[in-house]
Symmetry: D2
Subunit: 364 residues, 4 copies
């Protein structure tokens, strides 16, 4: 099978190639980039030169390139506003499209308000499937166009999903949900800005977009679909971490006065239920008995356990004092938060083993 990647020299494009290097169903990869035309892929990641399947960088010349493009699958790692120009042409040619940008994640009006970009392919928004396999697996299998989720959104939605059952929604203050997320610098991409220089970040920590971040509407848009929680509101605040990879998201949820530990136990049972067959999601600890004794084999959540893997770990905790549930979700922003999830989607669309290419084990 042959894969094309438009915008292959950025962090998500490189990470895609890194995964596809060991993907047994992929024979050939054509990377496109304006900057590195004609160069070997080694120019952006030297370890890739050991794999024959990578062609040298092809030139990317907008619509013209798209018109001529011929592949089984095409990943679009382009800035917001670009994929809407290309996706239609590609899917009409029968090419499966996975868009890493935000172009097809939101209803047109929300997109335009959030990204301040006029949407020019609104007809495709309904067709696009939000590429979170743990929720939309069946739709993904037959999709022609995938809106690959944002990194913070993946982390928050997987963490929050279990509380969004209809039976729980009356138990907590649904508009008092704090999502305090932290991300490594690769999440900001390869932008050569002063604020992203190593010297500026190394001994630093930067909260940003404190009262509004563009992934907040994305999180709400998906969660509201799940259980008709039309009024669900998230209070989202991100922080830039002085590490290169990884996201940890703390989710604080308050139960109502007449609720408590019994409800928490019911909720953890529900999480166990929805994730028990999910390979890439792991609940930390024997969650149903979290309130009682923790078994010897339980471990605390930490970022390094998911780094360099496609896993999402979720820790469920109860604070009886404040009648608060604390859900902590950890992912590698470039894998489960971007390119790993994109390959998981490709595997489903192509009827491959969903785990193919994604069985990495992490390390220090």
């Amino acid at each position: 099978m042959e894969i094309s990647i438009i915008g292959a020299s950025g962090y998500t494009g490189i990470e895609l190639m890194r995964i596809l290097a060991n993907h047994r169903n992929v024979d050939s990869v054509k990377p496109y980039s304006r900057t590195y035309v004609g160069k070997k892929v080694g120019v952006v990641n030297k370890s890739l030169v050991k794999f024959d399947k990578f062609q040298n960088f092809h030139d990317f010349d907008g619509e013209k390139t798209i018109d001529d493009l011929d592949s089984d699958v095409c990943f679009l790692c382009t800035p917001n506003g670009e994929a809407m120009r290309f996706a239609g042409t590609l899917i009409e040619k029968g090419i499966k499209v996975i868009d890493m940008s935000a172009d097809f994640r939101l209803p047109a009006d929300v997109y335009e308000n959030t990204y301040k970009i006029k949407h020019t392919a609104t007809n495709l928004i309904d067709e696009a499937v939000y590429g979170l396999p743990e929720i939309f697996r069946e739709k993904i299998r037959t999709a022609r166009l995938i809106a690959n989720p944002g990194c913070y959104a993946t982390s928050a939605i997987l963490g929050l999903r279990g509380i969004c059952a209809a039976k729980f929604k009356s138990q907590f203050f649904s508009d008092k949900i704090v999502v305090d997320a932290k991300s490594g610098t690769s999440g900001a991409g390869k932008k050569t800005e002063e604020g992203l220089l190593h010297s500026e970040i190394y001994n630093n920590l930067k909260p940003y977009n404190v009262s509004f971040h563009r992934h907040r509407p994305e999180i709400e848009n998906i969660l509201r679909k799940l259980d008709d929680l039309k009024n669900l509101k998230i209070s989202f605040t991100p922080t830039l971490l002085p590490i290169s990879r990884g996201i940890i998201t703390n989710i604080h949820i308050f139960l109502k006065e007449n609720s408590g530990i019994a409800d928490f136990n019911e909720i953890t049972g529900h999480y166990n239920e929805i994730y028990k067959d999910e390979f890439f999601v792991r609940l930390v600890g024997n969650v149903t008995s979290l309130h009682s004794k923790i078994s010897n084999d339980d471990f605390e959540i930490q970022l390094k356990d998911v780094l360099h893997t496609n896993l999402c770990e979720i820790s469920l905790n109860f604070d009886a004092y404040a009648n608060r549930i604390i859900i902590i979700s950890a992912i590698d922003n470039l894998l489960k938060g971007a390119s790993g999830q994109a390959v998981q989607n490709m595997n489903l669309m192509c009827d491959y083993d969903e785990k193919e290419g994604l069985m990495m084990a992490g390390g220090v």
Copy 2:
């Protein structure tokens, strides 16, 4: 003037010496340590050997040492449960005592519940003054015994203080205050635990004590005193950062339905008022007009601006969508969060310039 430091080889002890090195009222420093008896202070921080005022490490032999101790001021950098054995003897001899541990920060019952240590000097708890000059400056001037605040507590209390005016308390949900704090590894001290090894932390992030941390009762104990907010509850969750110094605390507060931006503006005005003469607290931006235009000279909050300084920076933000106030507080955990604040207290107790020794400017 002569200073004694009991437990001088830990991070707070070393940081005290680092500050006292340039303190113009301090002529002589006697460090005590069981580990380094007879050694030069350079054994724990080589740059200190350039300052004549430091004596070699004296042996510390518990009560016996305390009985013989003779100094103007004594800093106790001892583990919880030790200072309560020594403080009485010292203040009876007329030595001003600044305790860096938790021994005198809480009412006896709360202390015993929180630290699982029997308190043996409960008579001194009332006498001890909580050493946060921005709140208790006048009491500190005449105190014999200071309970130097915890690092997270300093960050959270300074950030929360402005909302604890009686006139605001009906505007927010006082039991839905999320305090999501992050600290560098020096906050954990020099404990040689596997989890604190560089290899374990470098590409990591670890939430810990997720549903209960010992600084939560301390924060509440102080804030409840301020405005008779007897029911104030904090939902506190800390995270260990892969940097060596610094704390950033995100505080999320929800306004009630009939409150909004006008109340936020009133609150920011109150913060401006209470901190306008405080040298070591800086509100980021021209806060009273934060909701309108930010002036050219305003800057965002980031940890590096307070590192290696005794400053606390506080950023006030409003999220109209969720009717949420986000207060972000940044300190250097070893300075304003520990030893810098301790010297600030000493300066007040000794009638020196409050800023003496503490006028550091930070850097990359």
Copy 3:
């Protein structure tokens, strides 16, 4: 096939499991550890729990365990001085043994001088094959006992090997070879020492064992075998880096007065020759023409290109001013410098594809 790992909870043991997780010829892995008896492997690396092939930790009770042990291959990740007690028993039972310690890397007298440990299995030293496939591949295929190379040694020997041809040995000052190496902290293992705490390392750099390090005799021992360079002397100095993984070794070699660029070109040609079929070694740039124009596809050497891979990159440079060759060698200390190389050796011993399990692509 079944694998046993003695001492599986340290960094090299965990990294072995991380590789074996995706090794298609390995069906079952039995980890041994005194600390974690009965626990799941997830207790040391949570991402491993997703792989069925890992048994829970078995107890390790010295000779008794070894007597009962039954596996196709046994990796010994034990402290120096232990493997010499166990290796004989294991190979007599027909178990292939790969020793990660220094026990079989040196002649007995050099070992005893270097490690200050009495060698009790000197008869096995001659039988043991030094596990550097790029030099001893054929011997490794039939070996019963492998002395897996040290991390610095791997980096230095692969970098120096090309200058040790008999035809070059008269061209440089063979006793003025400076090897200035730098390693991340995982090279020091999981020792809970104050000097390895994150707070102590994060903004630090520590030269250590400045005039004598135990890998120097190992480097010389191997290189002297290659070309009868009996007088070869290395001047080795290591430095501890504030990162968790990776080694960069700078090798400075001086040519004699009557030698120069032409000799350097001949040497680079020789490096091209010896490494042209080596999958895991990559010369940076089109080395034979390094002195002239560097082609567009050439890239500089940097550590991140080999991190999380089993690759060794080598850069060859000439300084005409000082008539000096600068060879720079980069590896991941836990992969090509330890566990990756060990699996490469296992693959050769078991007649598997040498690259099986080792085709990782690196990333930020």
Copy 4:
């Protein structure tokens, strides 16, 4: 006294302001910058806003600004090639000039060869004094123009100086001196290049300018002046470290065959002699007896002991096996390697206490 800083928004400019904030002889500082005209200095370092002595940024308009400039001292933190245009005008007006660039560090022909810039003020090169107080203190006192040393050059020259006595020069191979230096990223300045992004550096290490770096001629130029070592050659190779501040330089020197430990002892005695009264240079250990017993108060060299200080630490070691001396020199590149040394020079020129403003104690 009033100070002007041209190019005050880069790392050396900011560090100058950080030092001058606490300099008791400096009343007023005028920072110049094209980027931040009219803004408060807080825009580049917020902790500076607490000091009244800093004016807002003035515009810098080349010669016109210089013609109008009026100050006691002017620091030029401009790119190479700029200071030669301004220095003459300034010193004619009686303003003491400290140039942080390379414009006046080298003879004109060496400068032009090295920096590929035509020198337009060659008449000032002879007048300029190289600002390394430990060598040129008396000349600095009366200088009108200081060529402030490069960061690597400071580290290497202070480390090498003691071997450059006439009596030692016949004992080592003077053209086989390897200087293997490592620097944090602030040494590269605030350049917004992809290679300096945090994501690219965090888990990385990059050797660069491997066979030629511009500080090599500077080191040789100064050392050759000291002892008529006209043929002294340095083999210099730098590496970029994944930390923000600090330089460690390893210097490897080979003794001739008939020399040995006795010569090393004589050399260490000489280092003790030349540095015994130097406040900002510290020899690690009781160097004259390094070969015998190290006393209890001796410590190893490490970068963190000099970070955030103006100190240079030097460790002297002997490798009897290779008859090699290893000298290790550690500085903070922004302090002793740039702005700290510049203020040290200013103090000498203005007849202030040489240590004024520079008595920082370092920390984790």
